[in-house]
């Protein structure tokens, strides 16, 4: 039997949905999978994206640890640390090039090296008490990091660049720093080819129906960063907009059954809504966000109405067997319960712990589901949000920068190790099934 990988990927994506809708039994699903073999859509890109995430966590952690400002360390030691970090980043990048490693390595090592360069520049700035604003530091960082992006063909670094350059440009223009504006034009010209290649590849991938999630998330990030830059977030009640957006995403996601069949590829709207639902759940783990929904006079009644409607909808979903995972269906009910008790300080504190745990349970259930169904994207999606939840709580805590930084590094390393472990495990299970078939 001739096996078309593309169609098998599609079939594998559809099976859980058919199963959840009661069209086929779990046994039939397994038999179909065994007959046609297993090809998870976007397996490769799942590994790549989460390798980048791991590198970002470790790099971010390093920046925090050095941001602590070790005033007991001598200048020479600090300078050596800056050098050592960059050398380590260059070592990993050189290994990647020497061994002609794959995309996950290239992207991960480029992000790590570029963050090491940024940390190095920041340490020197801190050690020698250099003036100048943040944009100037970022400008110099981009100047020395762009060859790495070319050589390692790193799209992630290019996305970071896309976010940073407009900020520098606007700052230099606004403050009439003509010499830096001119230099930024050179930087734009220097980066133009890799920018063009990245945009071109995005367009072609988009046409082929791949990488849509990356495109959507990247553009969303660009718009968000510009909105933050223009201080748009300070006008009006942002939590109301966030809640409205959640309601729309939630209804769409449940109706389209996307929460049952998370994949990296496929309908970009579905990918976006499932991503946004998790963004919302993360925001709600902050007590201040909850308070904003509850105590903002202008929109409080509307917020309550929205959550009540959503809770009723979630209740209906529970009665429609296998249509929406129970943990998601119950979520609006839980939020509603929180709104009812939030005026009591003690109950509110307990509620926030419960809400955090609930989000954690959703993430763990995703990891378990992914492991059971040999779906790497489920596993990593769960791991991603679980890691985010953990380090949001660290950020929120009264820990010093060094504590937070170390937590970031540990989570980042854990993430990379789990990435390798699950990828190997699921890949070998897939091979086994394909071999048997």
């Amino acid at each position: 039997m001739k096996k078309d990988k593309k169609h098998i990927k599609w079939l594998n994506g559809e099976l859980p949905l058919w199963q959840e809708k009661g069209l086929i039994s779990p046994e039939s699903s397994r038999q179909i999978q065994d007959l046609y073999g297993y090809q998870e859509a976007g397996f490769h890109w799942t590994v790549v994206i989460f390798a980048i995430f791991g590198a970002l966590l470790i790099g971010g952690g390093l920046i925090m640890v050095f941001g602590h400002n070790w005033d007991l360390l001598a200048r020479g030691v600090k300078a050596s640390l800056a050098f050592g970090l960059v050398l380590a980043g260059q070592g990993v990048a050189a290994f990647t090039l020497w061994e002609s490693k794959g995309t996950a390595w290239r992207e991960g090592s480029a992000v790590f090296l570029n963050l090491a360069l940024l940390t190095g520049l920041a340490i020197i700035g801190q050690t020698y008490q250099l003036g100048g604003n943040l944009e100037r530091l970022l400008f110099w960082w981009m100047m020395i990091s762009f060859p790495t992006c070319y050589l390692l063909k790193s799209r992630a670094s290019t996305v970071i660049y896309l976010l940073v350059l407009p900020c520098c440009f606007m700052e230099f223009t606004q403050n009439n720093r003509s010499e830096l504006v001119k230099a930024t034009y050179f930087l734009v010209i220097g980066w133009a080819p890799i920018l063009w290649l990245t945009v071109k590849s995005w367009i072609s991938y988009y046409r082929r129906g791949e990488e849509r999630l990356i495109t959507a998330v990247s553009f969303l990030s660009i718009f968000s960063s510009l909105a933050i830059y223009h201080e748009a977030y300070y006008h009006g009640n942002i939590m109301f907009a966030i809640l409205c957006f959640f309601c729309i995403s939630y209804l769409f996601a449940v109706e389209a059954g996307v929460l049952n069949s998370l994949t990296l590829m496929g309908n970009p709207l579905a990918r976006f809504t499932e991503f946004y639902i998790f963004v919302f759940m993360s925001i709600m783990t902050f007590r201040d966000a909850f308070k904003e929904i509850m105590l903002r006079d202008s929109t409080m009644s509307l917020n309550i109405v929205l959550v009540v409607l959503l809770a009723i909808y979630g209740g209906f979903m529970l009665t429609r067997k296998n249509y929406c995972p129970a943990l998601f269906a119950l979520y609006p009910l839980l939020v509603l319960a929180g709104m009812l008790i939030f005026t009591n300080a003690t109950l509110a504190a307990i509620f926030m712990i419960v809400l955090n745990l609930y989000f954690g349970v959703i993430c763990v259930s995703l990891i378990m589901k992914g492991e059971r169904e040999r779906r790497l994207f489920h596993v990593f999606f769960g791991m991603f949000w679980l890691s985010l939840l953990i380090f949001l709580r660290f950020i929120d805590s009264d820990l010093e920068l060094i504590g937070k930084g170390i937590a970031f590094i540990i989570i980042g390393i854990g993430f990379l190790v789990a990435n390798i472990f699950f990828a190997k495990r699921i890949r070998s299970a897939q091979k086994e099934v394909t071999h048997e078939a």
């Binding site: 960059v86 090039l97 940390t119 190095g120 050690t127 008490q129």
Partner: protein, 194 residues
């Protein structure tokens, strides 16, 4: 062959990256070792830099000076104008800005590269924007500095708060931050113990 070329280019890029970092270190170490020492009186405030950590932003007590009528181009709008500031050491050992110049002064150690803000109300006056405007501190000490100094005008009246800057070839690097001849880190630790 292609891989060898890429690795060679990478090696070159890596050397450039290290050279940028290394040359900064060598340059500032050289200034700190051989530069001439100047004392500037300051009024600190305490902000935060997301990448470099906590720092005390420095407001200089002596930051206004008279400028020649041709220092700013009358037709042009300036946010900040680049120029050279000639420094003067007063009898008490502290520094005051003496003269703003468009051209680089003769080989003398008493000047720094600076930016100047024009005073549009009083065109004969400018405000100096010193290139060393922040002092990075431990994240515990910086808020303490803010508490002790910025919100305490009595303290600023009774104590001399200043920085020492090493200057060489027009570039200044902060050596330390002092409160009455005690390094600020030591001073704040003593304060925190009280």
């Amino acid at each position: 062959m292609k891989r060898k070329i890429i690795i060679s280019i990478f090696a070159l890029a890596a050397i450039v990256q290290l050279a940028v970092l290394g040359s900064s270190i060598v340059r500032y170490e050289n200034i700190l070792t051989t530069g001439k020492v100047w004392k500037f009186e300051i009024e600190p405030v305490d902000p935060y830099d997301i990448l470099r950590g906590r720092y005390v932003r420095l407001r200089f007590k002596k930051r206004k000076l008279k400028v020649a009528s041709d220092f700013f181009d009358a037709e042009k709008y300036y946010y900040r104008k680049n120029g050279y500031l000639v420094l003067n050491k007063k009898t008490d050992g502290f520094t005051e800005p003496l003269e703003a110049m468009n051209a680089r002064p003769e080989s003398d150690a008493n000047w720094i590269k600076c930016q100047f803000r024009r005073n549009y109300r009083n065109k004969a006056e400018a405000e100096v924007s010193y290139p060393f405007d922040r002092f990075f501190m431990n994240e515990k000490l910086a808020p303490e500095a803010d508490k002790v100094m910025r919100r305490n005008s009595e303290f600023m009246k009774n104590n001399r708060v200043y920085i020492t800057v090493r200057v060489k070839d027009g570039i200044g690097v902060i050596e330390n931050f002092w409160v009455d001849d005690t390094p600020i880190a030591d001073f704040l630790r003593q304060e925190m113990k009280k």
